[in-house]
Symmetry: C2
Subunit: 198 residues, 2 copies
């Protein structure tokens, strides 16, 4: 298969390497100086390339920010796993996981905004959130926790999705509408869980 002349496209490995290099620097900036400090121009400056070169590897800024999600999500996961260690009863495990999940976002509202709200309102057509395997694992964890409480239930997926969107909703509301006197998050989570396990 005679390839045409000219410089060949970047190899898969080269693409990944560049992307992860950018992601690494973005994470560094984000960790030390916060979210607002992460900008395309600065990223290019620190990596040592022209600002426009980044656009050859990423769709845009949101595409870069996805590299920060993994960091936050594993951080949250560790919180949950730590709490789950001392809990054995299935229903209590589900309860603990849900409470820890919500508490994490409320305690780290900037992380929540980064993961769930780091999109441009003007670019609403572009899909913000892309589920990768890592993210999906967190969903599956809750799925398993529910299954352990309701072994013979077959609506597990629907219940899982309801729980997850409900938990995210509680965190979302308490973070973005802090002026409203929301009921206690723990109680709301409990209330939400009653619908899932009945």
């Amino acid at each position: 298969m005679a390839r045409t002349a000219g410089r060949p496209p970047r190899s898969k490995a080269e693409i990944l390497e560049f992307r992860s290099k950018i992601g690494k620097h973005a994470l560094e900036i984000y960790r030390t100086e916060g979210f607002g400090a992460v900008s395309m121009r600065r990223l290019a400056r620190e990596v040592g390339c022209a600002p426009m070169t980044i656009y050859a590897h990423f769709e845009g800024k949101t595409d870069i920010l996805r590299y920060l999600w993994a960091d936050v999500l594993t951080d949250m996961s560790h919180d949950i796993e730590k709490k789950l260690k001392s809990v054995v009863v299935p229903s209590e495990r589900l309860q603990t996981a849900a409470q820890t999940f919500i508490a994490y976002w409320i305690d780290h509202p900037d992380h929540f905004r980064l993961v769930f709200m780091s999109n441009d309102v003007t670019r609403a057509d572009v899909s913000t959130f892309v589920m990768d395997d890592n993210t999906l694992a967190h969903v599956l964890m809750f799925s398993d926790l529910i299954r352990n409480v309701l072994p013979q239930e077959h609506d597990v997926k629907m219940r899982t999705d309801t729980l997850i969107s409900g938990m995210i909703g509680i965190a979302f509301c308490m973070i973005t509408i802090p002026d409203y006197p929301w009921a206690d998050a723990t109680l709301m989570t409990k209330q939400l869980l009653t619908s899932i396990i009945t």
Copy 2:
């Protein structure tokens, strides 16, 4: 009461008038050309004042966008009221209201982003959402609907807040994470409601 010399501060009425004038133009632009077209510079151009003058009356862009919320919220309210006309059973009324609420946001994702996500991630410290009387009325509507289903229940506030944050969560997730194969929104809403009315 000897006032100091000099030009007196703007009267309350003047302030309100200017603010509502800006809001009116913002709404006009938003309606005809969408959210992305609303900008401070253009707003100033159309209103006929210097861009900086706006900053004397508004904290920033988010402060202006709040004027668009009322429009969206009453639009949604009308949807719910229309649907509720033919429903009399309290539990069905609650069900209908909830389903319509969620359907509205899913059908108008740009409105959802405008109301709930029109904040700057970099300015996370500033409270995005400010509850005014109009917004509060919608909360109270759900509160009443729940009370009608559970007349002797005293946890109505907590249940209301759980329902509202849960509904917003469902809409939020389905809008911002469209790639994930969410369970049917109607079923999730039903599932969510089971916790509220038990």
